[in-house]
């Protein structure tokens, strides 16, 4: 009897250790990877690397055009997806509650969230690049990414709005406010922290995407930084992909260096999002 208890306890403690190892293993591997990247790429980062155009020679190559491309893409994707995503979220929570349309929309959105990003690339290629003749431009790329991250923004918007208590709406209506006035002055401000968290996470996903942009026709080699939304472009993940694919070791260093910059951007955005979320969660103790 007591032997069994001892064995059971041993197994139990054993599993607890396993659980801690399991929890750490992913993070430890990530740390190893990042350590390796830092060793490969840190010495390569300097002002020249950031401001130089791409080149056939690894030591002369820089990240400038790709970085400008990423910044353009980030801003344009944000401008396109922000109003649509939040608008759709508001519509689903405040207007279309429980209608058949909302049911369809809901299922549809969760399905879209599961569609692989490269499929969005095919959609963008056919619709934006070819049918609408936007070409392989920043516009086509950011429209494609905007559609890709729309489900994330919508879900985040809905969840933040759900957390706003009905009593606030009632109070606003009781003062004679219209529906939109209530949403504009009460619901959106009360849920804005949560919405922004979702938007930033979604955009950090967009910054890291390469596959759909490759399909849309973003180039690995762009001689100059884009100047208008209709220009050809490259982005950092594509530049990294391109450098990884080259045989010369110098390009691997470049890739590592570019990865460091990309990781700083995405982790930075995630950190901001987590910070916003924790601040927002603290505030809503209605």
């Amino acid at each position: 009897m007591s032997r069994i208890i001892k064995i059971n306890r041993l197994k139990n403690s054993g599993f607890q250790v396993l659980g801690i190892i399991g929890t750490l293993i992913g993070l430890v591997l990530l740390a190893i990877f990042i350590g390796d990247i830092l060793m490969d790429g840190l010495t390569r980062i300097d002002w020249d690397f950031i401001t130089s155009l791409p080149s056939r020679f690894p030591e002369k190559s820089g990240i400038f055009t790709a970085m400008m491309g990423s910044i353009w893409i980030l801003l344009m994707t944000a401008i396109i997806s922000f109003p649509i995503g939040i608008g759709a979220g508001i519509y689903l929570e405040e207007y279309a509650t429980k209608s058949r349309l909302s049911k369809i929309l809901e299922i549809n959105i969760s399905n879209l969230a599961g569609v692989p990003s490269i499929i969005y690339g095919l959609l963008g290629l056919e619709v934006f690049v070819r049918i609408l003749h936007f070409g392989s431009s920043l516009l086509s790329g950011s429209l494609t990414l905007a559609l890709l991250i729309l489900p994330i923004i919508i879900v985040a918007t809905r969840e933040s709005i759900k957390a706003v208590p009905q009593s606030i709406r009632d109070a606003s209506y009781a003062l004679g406010a219209s529906k939109w006035q209530t949403i504009q002055h009460q619901v959106i401000p009360a849920s804005f922290g949560g919405i922004m968290t979702g938007v930033i996470l979604a955009l950090s996903r967009a910054v890291g995407e390469a596959a759909p942009l490759i399909v849309v026709g973003a180039l690995a080699y762009v001689p100059f930084a884009p100047k208008t939304p209709m220009d050809d472009f490259s982005v950092m993940p594509i530049q990294i992909f391109n450098w990884i694919s080259r045989p010369q070791h110098g390009f691997i260093e470049n890739a590592a260096a570019a990865i460091i910059i990309l990781l700083i951007i995405t982790f930075g955005m995630n950190a901001i999002a987590i910070y916003l979320r924790s601040r927002w969660q603290k505030r809503i103790s209605w």
Partner: protein
């Protein structure tokens, strides 16, 4: 039957301190004693200086308004409160003279010896058979025949056998609420406890099922020491030998059930019994 690990040797002693079951009437000792028990949840004191002794083979009803600490008191005997963050206990909780909180008690063993039935029937989402066999299996019992017998015996004890014997593979969640609760009692009985804790076992059931469980409790006290929390005064009157009245974390009064109901010594008890509050 409460097992203890001595601190020095860290070895298991099977101190059988149970008084023989055969002749309960001659037993003068107490099965359970709580002495100066205080319980805290973080800073909040949920039980204040509780002193109570309980004889074996009796049913003790714990009554009192919601939030007065009845569940907290009940759950100290199988140390279920241990999982609550900020839980702290001071004083002595003695079962068969073993101090549950000071001596090195084998929790697994303690919980086999002190069974618990919960407020809402909580059968596992498994078959009827698997539910009753659960306790034996986690103790490492492998003998199929033995398990079979125990399951059948336990189901007969709770008068459920005839209702389920043809379909022991049925999912327990498909049973009615009353059947589920009897199944949960059978699940507890299958590991042969000697104390059974019941926390408002009939509050989620219809009157008919409640009646069956009450009859069952009356039967079970021949073999087990039973503590039952109840909101229902009639129920306390029907099933219990003794009644303890709790109020705001204090034990106001304890005595023979009929005394508590007919001539309580304290005014607060009187008020509660007659329904002036709670």
């Amino acid at each position: 039957m409460i097992s203890v690990m001595t601190n020095e040797e860290n070895k298991v002693l099977n101190t059988n301190l149970l008084i023989p079951k055969t002749d309960p009437s001659k037993d003068k000792d107490y099965k359970i004693r709580t002495e100066h028990v205080d319980v805290f949840y973080k800073d909040f004191q949920a039980l204040k200086n509780i002193n109570l002794k309980i004889r074996p083979y009796t049913v003790t009803a714990l009554i009192g308004p919601s939030g007065c600490g009845k569940s907290t008191y009940l759950r100290i005997f199988n140390r279920m409160n241990d999982y609550i963050e900020g839980f702290r206990l001071e004083g002595k909780v003695l079962v068969d003279d073993v101090d549950l909180y000071k001596d090195k008690v084998l929790l697994e063993r303690l919980r086999k010896d002190v069974g618990m039935v919960f407020q809402k029937p909580n059968p596992f989402p498994k078959t009827v058979f698997e539910n009753v066999a659960y306790g034996l299996k986690i103790q490492g019992v492998k003998d199929k025949h033995f398990i079979q017998e125990r399951v059948e015996h336990a189901l007969k004890q709770v008068v459920l056998w005839n209702e389920v014997k043809d379909d022991l593979k049925k999912n327990a969640l498909a049973l009615s609420g009353g059947q589920q609760q009897r199944l949960c009692i059978a699940r507890t009985l299958a590991v042969e406890p000697n104390i059974i804790l019941m926390d408002e076992p009939t509050s989620a059931l219809d009157p008919l099922s409640t009646g069956k469980i009450e009859e069952l409790i009356f039967e079970l006290k021949n073999e087990y020491t039973i503590l039952i929390v109840t909101h229902n005064m009639q129920q306390a009157g029907r099933v219990s030998d003794r009644t303890a009245f709790f109020y705001l974390g204090e034990l106001v009064e304890e005595g023979l059930t009929k005394d508590i109901f007919l001539n309580p010594k304290k005014e607060r008890t009187q008020n509660y019994i007659t329904g002036r509050f709670g």
